[in-house]
């Protein structure tokens, strides 16, 4: 075997004999590639790109959800189902599958076939497709690694490096593949930090879609608060978790034109894998929560946890049901919150709580699988501390602002 130096020497010799560098013309593409990574020009460009991302997401999801699917579900599906459902309106079967007989929209009915299907197909499907479509175009064009370079310095402060942007952005689609993507980070420490902060703070596409529908005016602030938490927790973890955070030399691919076939294929793969996991969980979630309601467990829990919820977090005790659902599906939990009466500020707090409180069960399994028992318990400890402190902090902010 050669050693490192001998090998490079050999490569040098080979290269000298086989490679000729022609006169390198600086093309417009190269010059554009350059200015997208220089901070002075790159950051404004990144703002424009992210704005485009968000604007597309909102318009696309709004077109399908508000334009057609809400109408379909509220004006046709719900009345029809309330009419033809075989079991009586007082029966528990009706309660579980159709929900509230007086409801006039699918958000409030909360039956498996009403709210359950509406959340998955009416709200989350368009959001997920919109999100992945833009993400895949950004991925294939080669812009994503440039974003990584831009954000490299910031992420170094939390013990990560630029490429942590890849799992972070993936996570905005779904936390599950994002946990796997953490493997591109070098050390155990980095992977632990990344998994923990993304599982806690990054809302998934399903949740974003439903937040957009339920709290359109405040969703920006919620995201901002979560993003701040992402950096704060990352910063703390990078100080207390033992291990290394090595530098990484980023390698930037050149810009490419995304191909239709690859974009289409990836969109299909991601959307369908999302759905096979999402649909059973959402439907199951509705059943479980309705059964818990019927058996009185929710009331019992609400009374028991009420002082903690209203005292520490400042949210109504009814949110306990949503918090239970949140363990199964975040989107469903936010949908359930929308039916509870509370102030705008309490709403923001509960949405934040639902986000940072236990990740959904699928992510949970990934944390265990990727992190091992030790890593999993570590993430869990960070999570519990975060829920109490960071969730409580929001209540404190409202008190200081005089709106709690």
């Amino acid at each position: 075997m050669l050693d490192l130096e001998q090998r490079w020497e050999l490569i040098d010799k080979i290269a000298k004999r086989t490679i000729k560098f022609g006169k390198y013309r600086h093309t417009l593409k190269d010059a554009i590639a350059e200015i997208t990574v220089k901070p002075l020009t790159g950051i404004p460009i990144a703002i424009a790109v992210l704005y485009g991302f968000w604007a597309f997401f909102v318009a696309f999801a709004g077109f399908f959800t508000d334009g057609f699917l809400v109408k379909l579900f509220d004006m046709h599906w719900l009345p029809w189902l309330q009419e033809v459902f075989p079991a009586g309106k007082e029966s528990w079967l009706y309660y579980i599958f159709v929900g509230d007989p007086l409801a006039d929209n699918c958000f409030e009915a909360f039956g498996m076939l009403t709210s359950g299907l509406f959340v998955v197909i009416g709200v989350v499907l368009p959001a997920i497709v919109a999100f992945y479509l833009v993400l895949i175009v950004l991925e294939d064009s080669g812009y994503l690694p440039r974003l990584a370079v831009l954000i490299d310095t910031v992420l170094h402060k939390i013990g990560l490096h630029g490429y942590a942007i890849v799992p972070s952005i993936l996570s905005l689609g779904c936390n599950v593949p994002a946990c796997t993507a953490c493997r591109i980070l070098e050390t155990k420490k980095q992977r632990f930090i990344m998994r923990t902060i993304l599982a806690i703070f990054i809302p998934c596409g399903a949740q974003l879609g439903i937040m957009l529908k339920v709290i359109p005016e405040t969703v920006g602030w919620v995201i901002l608060y979560l993003l701040a938490g992402y950096f704060i927790l990352g910063f703390i973890l990078s100080r207390i978790v033992p291990g290394e955070s090595p530098e990484l030399l980023l390698d930037i691919p050149s810009y490419q034109r995304p191909t239709f076939s690859n974009v289409g294929r990836k969109l299909w793969v991601r959307t369908s894998s999302f759905f096979t996991t999402a649909i059973p969980f959402v439907l199951l979630g509705v059943i479980i929560i309705n059964v818990l309601h019927l058996t009185g467990v929710i009331d019992w829990l609400a009374t028991g946890l009420g002082p903690l919820l209203s005292g520490w977090f400042g949210v109504p005790k009814e949110t306990v049901g949503a918090l239970i659902v949140a363990f199964l599906r975040k989107d469903l939990a936010v949908a359930q919150l929308s039916a509870i009466e509370m102030t705008k500020y309490q709403m923001v707090t509960s949405v934040v709580l639902v986000s940072i409180y236990f990740p959904c069960i699928a992510t949970f399994v990934m944390l265990l699988k990727e992190g091992g028992v030790k890593g999993f318990l570590g993430s869990l400890a960070a999570l519990v501390a975060t829920v109490f402190l960071y969730g409580g902090l929001l209540h404190l902010i409202w008190i200081l602002l005089g709106v709690a």
Partner: protein
């Protein structure tokens, strides 16, 4: 000659973009709205659109000196692309809003409703859009 024309053109255009950006930014922060002729500054994200427009104007202005040089041109092209992102998304939003019917109406919008989605007033980026296409012409002419 052509260069000089382009430089003068983008200096003026850049200044207009820059000032509209600042206006949109201020109105966005204040949370107000403003209409003047076919120009309208209002709605969500005015703040962000304003920030982006501000940089678009800034990029145009900083590109005019020696525009023919590839790095300068890249700044100019990128400024136009940023403008197209805002305007393009606005057009996309108009299209998606124009097609479905209103709350209590049918599935598809009425013809009047459809057309009214495209009628003025427009946001600044949309009005600026046609003038930014000069970049395309310039790049194309330069290649030749």
């Amino acid at each position: 000659m052509k260069n000089k024309f382009a430089s003068v053109y983008f200096s003026i255009f850049g200044l207009i973009v820059l000032s509209l950006g600042i206006a949109e930014l201020i109105i966005g922060i204040a949370g107000r709205s403003f209409t003047w002729g076919i120009l309208e500054i209002s709605g969500e994200f005015s703040l962000w659109k304003g920030i982006i427009l501000f940089f678009v104007g800034f990029f145009y202005l900083s590109s005019v000196k020696n525009l023919n040089e590839i790095h300068q041109l890249a700044k100019n092209v990128m400024a136009s692309i940023m403008l197209w992102i805002i305007a393009g998304m606005q057009i996309f939003a108009m299209i998606t809003e124009s097609i479905p019917g209103g709350e209590e109406e049918g599935w598809i919008n009425t013809w009047e409703g459809f057309l009214s989605a495209y009628s003025p007033p427009y946001i600044p980026a949309l009005i600026l859009l046609p003038f930014s296409l000069v970049t395309v012409y310039y790049v194309y002419a330069r290649e030749k």
